[in-house]
């Protein structure tokens, strides 16, 4: 499915313009093009020629040939479509369809060909779009220039400057409607509209979380297809109907453990805060998991120490010796002769030993509270946000995402502790603070957007992580069950607090 080259030749076989879309040597392309006039027959009612290696698809235009060179497996239907488009483009750019005319506009033709075929693949464009692309009229550039000019004028004659802007604005609207809504079907604008509409579509789709797709449709089309599938199966063709994608290897593998034994204590936070204070939900779920690399080290017990938080209830794995844990805080299997399962490096989770859970309505337990104050003044909305972190944790990589109304440009941020970033595709303002510790337990930010309802800015979602946990569970020691006096094997311990769902609604 590859177009090797698009060329314009004169009837006598002179190559006027040729644009190649894949790597090929000059001698090769010249050879191919030189062979073409000899191959094209007269009186034929079809317009393609095949040789041993390539296929030429051509169209005579007055005294010229417009020619596509493709490989032989190329899709003829698509190539003809491309050829048709190109044949419409050539007269658009050449005033006279003869050698001279083509030579004069050779570069324009090349630019136009480039828009139609990309790396040998056809683009879905129309003549008008190609023209628009080649004209390179850009609103954004004009805006940009205006802004530049504005900056230059700043401090000087404001009134004059604004007057000039107004006049140039009106110029622009005239010119844009001239080229846009006039005869040539307003592409400059429709393209923009398109991108907006697709954007909103995209959002709808994502919020609707992909509704179970076309069950009815499947039934509808089934009859024939199913018969077909059945007969294929009957003929011994293997068909897998429900295909599960392989577990994505996209998951970023956690740094592979290098120590023989790794213990990970992880707590996940599910918190929903009300926008005017108070907690509607606060839930911590913790797990302690064990990962052992080698079989030899698997006969062990784990000595732990808990922080003694009374609100936390620990639950051991059914295979664990419950009494041993409740009496001595030692985690060991019920059957002391059984080793712990050993996991390979690929399985990052390891074996769960212990689970715990904590719920609370106590506001003091919340690690980070967010206050958001939108206020409308004039035709602008000022939003100030502040956070307050409890002294319990040092929070890392804090990102506070505030949804904004759909904006053309980034919001005007007046003041900020930390950094901000505007994601224009999802229209979200992200406020990130690398680390919150004793030096910055509270911080604030203020930005201005065009007037909007205050509910637009919610729900604010927060992400962060911390290295200490609510439970304060620690592994003190590893007790080997075998090997007598051998020193306890080395182990590493990871403690992690992360947010799973932390929102201000």
């Amino acid at each position: 499915m590859v177009v090797l080259a698009a060329s314009v030749l004169s009837k006598s076989g002179k190559v006027l313009v040729s644009r190649q879309f894949v790597d090929m040597t000059r001698i090769r392309i010249e050879g191919l093009l030189a062979a073409f006039p000899k191959l094209v027959g007269t009186g034929k009612q079809h317009t393609y020629v095949e040789t041993e290696n390539v296929r030429y698809v051509y169209q005579p235009i007055e005294a010229l040939y417009l020619l596509l060179v493709t490989n032989k497996q190329s899709n003829i239907l698509e190539d003809l479509e491309t050829l048709r488009l190109l044949s419409k483009l050539v007269p658009e750019y050449c005033y006279s369809l003869d050698e001279e005319g083509i030579c004069k506009t050779a570069f324009e033709l090349i630019f136009a060909f480039d828009e139609v075929i990309c790396l040998g693949h056809k683009e879905n464009v129309t003549v008008a779009q190609v023209k628009q692309y080649c004209e390179m009229e850009s609103h954004e550039e004009k805006l940009h220039k205006l802004i530049d000019k504005n900056k230059g004028d700043k401090g000087g004659f404001m009134s004059m400057g604004s007057g000039r802007i107004e006049s140039s604005f009106s110029d622009m609207s005239i010119s844009s409607s001239g080229s846009g809504f006039g005869s040539s079907s307003g592409l400059g604008l429709t393209a923009d509209v398109d991108s907006f509409s697709t954007k909103s579509k995209g959002r709808q789709l994502s919020s609707a979380t992909a509704p179970p797709k076309g069950l009815g449709m499947q039934l509808g089309k089934s009859q024939k297809t199913n018969q077909f599938l059945e007969s294929l199966k009957a003929e011994g063709e293997l068909i897998v109907e429900d295909v599960q994608p392989r577990a994505g290897q996209a998951r970023v593998a956690a740094a592979a453990p290098t120590d023989p034994i790794t213990l990970t204590a992880e707590e996940k936070l599910n918190v929903t805060l009300k926008r005017d204070g108070g907690i509607s939900n606060f839930d911590v779920q913790g797990t302690l998991s064990l990962q052992i690399l080698n079989q030899e080290d698997a006969l062990i017990q784990v000595q732990t120490e808990t922080g003694g938080n009374p609100g936390i209830l620990f639950k051991t794995h059914p295979n664990m010796n419950k009494e041993l844990f409740s009496n001595e805080n030692i985690l060991g299997l019920k059957d002391p002769n059984r080793p712990f399962p050993t996991g390979s490096a690929g399985d990052a989770a390891g074996v769960g030993l212990l689970k715990w859970r904590m719920q609370s309505a106590d506001e003091s337990m919340v690690p980070l509270t967010i206050n958001c104050w939108p206020s409308v003044s004039g035709n602008e909305t000022y939003v100030s946000i502040e956070y307050e972190a409890s002294a319990m944790f040092d929070l890392r990589n804090v990102v506070i995402s505030v949804p904004l109304p759909a904006l053309r440009e980034a919001p005007n941020v007046r003041q900020i502790d930390g950094e901000w970033r505007y994601d224009s595709r999802n229209s979200v303002l992200e406020w990130s603070i690398l680390l919150i510790d004793n030096s910055n337990r509270s911080g604030s930010m203020e930005f201005v957007v065009p007037p909007a309802d205050s509910s637009v800015f919610f729900p604010i979602s927060v992400r962060f992580s911390a290295t200490s946990t609510y439970s304060d569970l620690k592994v003190v020691n590893i007790i080997p069950l075998r090997g007598g006096g051998a020193p306890p094997p080395k182990f590493s311990q990871r403690t992690n607090l992360i947010t799973e769902n932390y929102q201000v609604v």
Binding site: S195, T225, V240
Partner: protein, 948 residues
Amino acid sequence: MEKSCTLLIHFDKGTPAIANEIKEALEGNDVSAKVDAMKKAIMLLLNGETLPQLFITIVRYVLPSEDHTFQKLLLLYLEIIEKTDAKGRVLPEMILICQNLRNNLQHPNEYIRGVTLRFLCRLNETEIIEPLIPSVLQNLEHRHPFIRRNAILAVMSIYKLPQGDQLLVDAPDMIEKVLSTEQDPSAKRNAFLMLFTCAQERATNYLLTHVDRVSEWGELLQMVVLELIRKVCRTNRGEKAKYIKIIIALLNSPSTAVIYECAGTLVSLSSAPSAIKAAANTYCQLLLSQSDNNVKLIVLDRLNELKSSHRDVMVDLIMDVLRALSSPNLDIQRKTLDIVLELITPRNINEVVLLLKKEVVKTQTGELEKNGEYRQMLIQAIHSCAIKFPEVASTVVHLLMDFLGDSNVASAIDVVVFVREIIETNPKLRVSIITRLLDTFYQIRAARVCSCALWIIGEYCLSLSEVESAIATIKQCLGDLPFYSASEEGEATDASKKTPQASSITISSRRPAVLADGTYATQSAASETAFSPPTIVQGSLASGNLRSLLLTGDFFLGAVVACTLTKLVLRLEEVQPSKVEVNKATTQTLLILVSMLQLGQSHVLPHPIDNDSYDRIVLCMRLLCNTSDEIRKIWLQSCRQSFVKMLSEKQLRETEELKAKAQVSHAQPDDLIDFYHLKSRKGMSQLELEDEVQDDLKRATGEFVKDADDANKLNRILQLTGFSDPVYAEAYVTVHHYDIVLDVTVINRTKETLQNLCLELATMGDLKLVDRPQNYTLAPESSKQIKANIKVSSTETGVIFGNIVYETSNVLERTVVVLNDIHIDIMDYISPAVCSDTAFRTMWAEFEWENKVAVNTVIQDEKEFLNHIIKSINMKCLTAPSALDGECGFLAANLYAKSVFGEDALVNLSIEKQADGKLSGYIRIRSKTQGIALSLGDKITLKQKGGS
């Protein structure tokens, strides 16, 4: 690795632009003059100039320009300039453009960004790309789809560069993310394409997670999906089970391009009958629904492939394929019939023939100008059907006999040949055919058809009634005797054009015939013109057809009539009990013969009767007067026997061909066998894993070169200078299709350093030097390989000659060593080919250039000489071996070959053995262009001597 070429523009050498002028214009202020100058600079570059001095000017004056056209031209300029030095390192000044490119990538104008990103796709130098990567990545999330589209492609091509995966480690990750959120169909396609080429695993994952949506995706994306499926399944057969469902879903796509692709994919994935059937059905639908001839022809090609690999499935679809006959295009109709004819089985033959008959009838009513040719094709098709399945002959033969009087001579000939064969092979049909033939005989217009029909009548009229009616029919067609009256002779002689008319007025009571055109008036048995494209025979049905033909001077036909009548009379003697009747018939026949001879010797006709015909008519007369049993046997039986022999020989040849086809070995005993299951293991090179699609593409771009025979390679080394010259040079010449590569090894044999050593080449004939080799400095006694490419555009003997020029350090004058000439052999360009007899004759009549070479050889045997010529000029003998049998001292044969440029070369060899045992005669070469005729002639003159 040779540099790739991205654009070609015709450059008029008449107005050379000088670098200085361009420089001035670029430095000036006039925008349009600057643009022109920039264009000129690019054209000069394309033309092989290097213009190093312009670079700085461009950097200084063009780079900062705001004008969009300028920026685009600049990108083209950057695309084609040499960016590396001789050792492959990036030139230091290229850093200057990096900044500009980066600005462009952050330009507020989205189109500037887009075209710059597109330019990056064509860039190979990682050193230039590296600093630009962050800007490229930023553009992945730009609001404007035009930019995102190109940014994705840029990422893809950067990632594909030799060390690209290190430049952009997480590119697949990023693109996967982009793909999941992207809405623009084109950008989505590009993203998928990127995953497909760079991280196939992810692409398949994405595809499988969105399996239900595939049918809603854009056409472009669906095409890539199909390509992916094909690729995955080729490398890993086991996977295909997962994908068949997707293909089936896509078969219902509204886009025909996708459907076409689907069918192709389905065939490549599965050989299950249902799958093949579905694919074939799809093709058939496309065949009917698409009005474009190109599409139809290519779809027919696909069906043809299916036919050869899955005949049993295609047999069921024969009627669907036949529906393509409704197209008025002859090429399509021919291809369709070709496919169908090989799919005929006893089960579907009746249906097929019924439809063909219908089509034949349709051609009678239609007004299309190509109807004649189409009818001929149909008749040939029916003919071959009838030979395969004789039982259908009875159903078609009568219908076809309606066309004996067809105004299209070629199709009428086909019909009569068909009838001749059927009447011999199907004895049951004889009576009905003869009756029919006698009924329709008067309609036959063309002389060749007439003579063939007369032969049939002469051979196959057996019973008394048949013989009698045959004689009556012929007599009727000849009209009243004599053919002309002597009294009018005087008047009739003046103008040849008028004569026939005048004579027919006087001799015939009927209306004078409008006679055939000049072609036929001069026709004789050996004339070539009879084979020119069929001419329309005019003529009225009112006067006897034989009579009007005879009056145009066709005495060959006269001889045939004479023989037929003689045969019929001889047979009448056997079947007619009454002696009186026989004698009556004999005398009547004799009268006819005599009148023909009289006509032949009169001055009414422009040409008198030829000797051959005269002899035969006289022979017939003698025979009728004085018959013997032996002669009778020859006339009544041997003739038929030799016809039977001819038919059986033809059949034998066909079966032999079939056998030979069946015996073509698909694999040699010592071929490697590929096991798919072992293929992915290590130990196999990447090359072996590469699949046919890539091969296809590589062949197309010329990357794929077959390894030639190494032993052969050594034969082609040419010594260019002498051993005692200060510079020794030898060349190894490789001839590819359209180009010749000279690999010249130059050795400095002196103790001095040779400076500015340059290989200067010039060509004669249809050769063109592509680029001038560079200058080199050669250290004492060192050697250097220099490559030169030469383009060939037609088959012709070419000569390359040249010198080596160099300077030495102490003497400041240039020394020249003249090289041996390199002759390019025409034999590298032509290869034996086959064409039909008629095609050969048509071309022979058409081609303008003829080269006649007198035979001059020491070879004494005709056939040995023929073989010698065939071998030395690499052509195919078209004359059947049976025709060359026997020892008669004469030999005539046609040879044919085709050049790689698609030119035809025709050779005719006519030799005779002289009394002294020597061979004499001529070899004629005809071709459309002078080159072939001349060079082949030279070749033959050179080689024909033989003897060694």
